[in-house]
Structures are given as structure tokens and as C-alpha cells.
């Protein structure tokens, strides 16, 4: 209020002594108030003003509601609010309470989950896949023991001269990683297939399921 007093007394001095913006604000505010009050004095103007204000506020509210609905629709929540229809409710989400079936109606029996080994191209059960791979690729602890044992017996068998002993040893150690040696030693009695699969089959028979 002190500012407005100085404005009235020293208009020129007031604008120079205060900052320009605050002076402007004060004069603007008072101008608005003055204009408004002059307007209100007329009853017709008052009616028009109040009608206008009512309309403007109502338009704002309607726009707000529309934008809210539009936003709901764009985010997909409008359909979500509606929910599932009553007739769909029963058929789509019926709870299954039969024996041997779980709540979705799927059988609880063990499912056939077989994998194909990339090494030997056989179908192996999923639960047995890791141990099979260990032996197949020769990487686990047990595979390395088999390999070292075979190497030892191979050296032993190369030292001995009788064919029966070699037969027994090679028979005992069916499978192995040395292709040519196996074929040479056991040509007669045991037709040793040089395919990897039979060798691995043999090794599995001897050394499988030791744990």
C-alpha cells in the first residue's frame, strides 16, 4: 500500500525509485480491479459476466472428463474397467477339480521331454541329458577315468602277445577312443564296429549308472 501512495503523490518519482516490473504489476492489478468494478455496476453486464463465467467453467469440466476418458481408452484401461462379460466368465475360467488333473485341466503325469544330443544325435531324456553329455563328450570326472583306464589297458594289451588276453581286455573295455587299434585287435570274434555310436553304447553299458 505504501507503493500505491507514493504512486499517487509522486508518479514520476515512484516509477524511477522502484523497479519497473513491480510498479507495472501494481498498476496492472489495480487497473484490472478498476475495470472490473466499472463493469459490474451495470446489472446487464453483471448477468453477462456471470453467464460467461459459468459457461467457461462448465466447458473446462467437460473437457477434463473427455480427456480422462480418452486417456483411459488410449492406455487400454477402458476395456479393462469393463471387465469380462458374464457369459464368458463361466466357460473361460472354470476351475477344474478332477483327480489327476491340475487346476487348469492339464494332466499331472510325467511329460515326455526328450532332447537330441548334439554329439551322438540320440534322443535323451531331459533329466539324463547332462550326465549323458559328460560321457558323450568325454569331459566329466568319470569320463576321464574311463579314458585313462583304457589307455592303461591298451598299453598293457599292446605289451602282451596272446590274442585271447587282448580279446578279453578289448571285450572288457568295449568302446574307447582309438579307432584303428580296436579294429585290429578284435577283428575275429567280435565284429567291432568302428562307428562312434556302438563304442559309446559299449562304454555306457559298462560304466553307465555307476552313481
Amino acid at each position: 500500500m505504501a507503493n500505491s501512495n507514493t504512486n499517487q503523490l509522486h508518479p514520476l518519482g515512484a516509477t524511477t525509485s522502484q523497479t519497473f516490473t513491480t510498479a507495472l504489476n501494481h498498476t496492472a492489478a489495480s487497473t484490472i480491479a478498476i475495470n472490473f468494478r466499472e463493469l459490474i455496476k451495470e446489472p446487464k453486464e453483471l448477468d453477462e459476466a456471470s453467464n460467461y463465467l459459468y459457461q467457461a467453467l462448465l466447458d473446462d469440466v467437460v473437457a477434463g472428463i473427455f480427456i480422462e476418458t480418452h486417456h483411459l481408452r488410449k492406455t487400454g484401461n477402458l476395456a479393462a474397467l469393463d471387465g469380462v462379460g458374464e457369459e464368458n466368465l463361466e466357460s473361460a475360467f472354470h476351475i477344474c477339480e478332477m483327480p489327476n488333473l491340475d487346476i487348469f485341466g492339464i494332466s499331472t503325469a510325467k511329460k515326455q521331454m526328450d532332447c537330441t544330443c548334439p554329439n551322438c544325435d540320440r534322443l535323451v531324456a531331459a533329466a539324463r541329458f547332462a550326465p549323458h553329455l559328460e560321457k558323450c563328450m568325454g569331459m566329466g570326472r568319470i569320463s576321464s577315468r574311463i579314458a585313462s583306464r583304457r589307455l592303461a589297458t591298451k598299453e598293457g594289451s599292446s605289451a602282451s602277445t596272446s590274442s585271447t588276453s587282448t580279446y578279453l581286455q578289448s571285450g572288457g573295455n568295449t568302446g574307447g577312443t582309438d579307432d584303428e587299434d580296436d579294429v585290429d585287435w578284435s577283428s575275429d570274434k567280435r565284429k567291432k564296429k568302428s562307428t562312434q555310436s556302438s563304442r559309446n553304447n559299449g562304454s555306457k553299458k559298462n560304466n553307465g549308472k555307476t552313481f
Binding site: 475495470n35 459490474i40 448477468d47 467453467l57 467437460v62 472428463i65 473427455f66 476418458t69 480418452h70
Partner: protein, 94 residues
């Protein structure tokens, strides 16, 4: 300056516009108008969503006249009286 601008400026400045608007929102929600208008908007949106080229402004300008007619008379009268009193009060203060 036009009447609209003066009224707007003054009521915003004095903080009355906010008060009146809050009152209007409360009354409209109480009387269920808001839910009706929401349903109306939803129906219009679902109808017009077939052709994607309709703008938000167009839809709002469609909804507004219908929404205006839906306002109950009692609310309208109360609000108009309230606005008039508030606007006139400033005159008395002066």
C-alpha cells in the same frame, strides 16, 4: 478489453475462480452428472473410433452441448447465484 477477459483476469487474480470451479465440480459429482457425461464420452469415442481421423477438439465440441443440457437445473441455478454474489461482492468492497 472485452467483458470476458476482464472477468477472467479479475476472478483469477482474486482466487475466486478456483473456489467457484471447485464448488461446481463438487456439485456435479454429487448429482451424478459426471458419470453420465463419462458414459456419453465413452459412447461417442467408441462410435467415432472407426474412422481414425477425428480429432480430440472435434469430439469435445460434440460432447459439450449435450453435456450442458444434462446439467440439472438446481445445480445450474445455485452456481449462477453463487457467481453473481461473488462478482457483486467485489463491488461492495469497493
Amino acid at each position: 478489453m472485452t467483458i470476458c477477459d476482464t472477468v477472467d483476469q479479475y476472478t483469477i487474480m482474486s482466487g475466486d475462480r478456483l473456489k467457484i470451479k471447485d464448488l461446481l465440480c463438487n456439485r456435479l459429482t454429487e448429482c451424478g452428472w459426471r458419470n453420465e457425461v463419462r458414459l456419453l464420452c465413452r459412447n461417442i469415442l467408441l462410435e467415432k473410433s472407426a474412422n481414425n481421423s477425428v480429432s480430440v477438439d472435434q469430439l469435445i465440441s460434440e460432447v459439450t452441448p449435450k453435456a450442458r443440457t444434462l446439467v440439472p437445473d438446481a445445480v445450474k441455478k445455485e452456481l449462477l447465484m453463487k457467481i453473481r454474489t461473488i462478482l457483486a461482492e467485489t463491488d461492495e468492497d469497493n
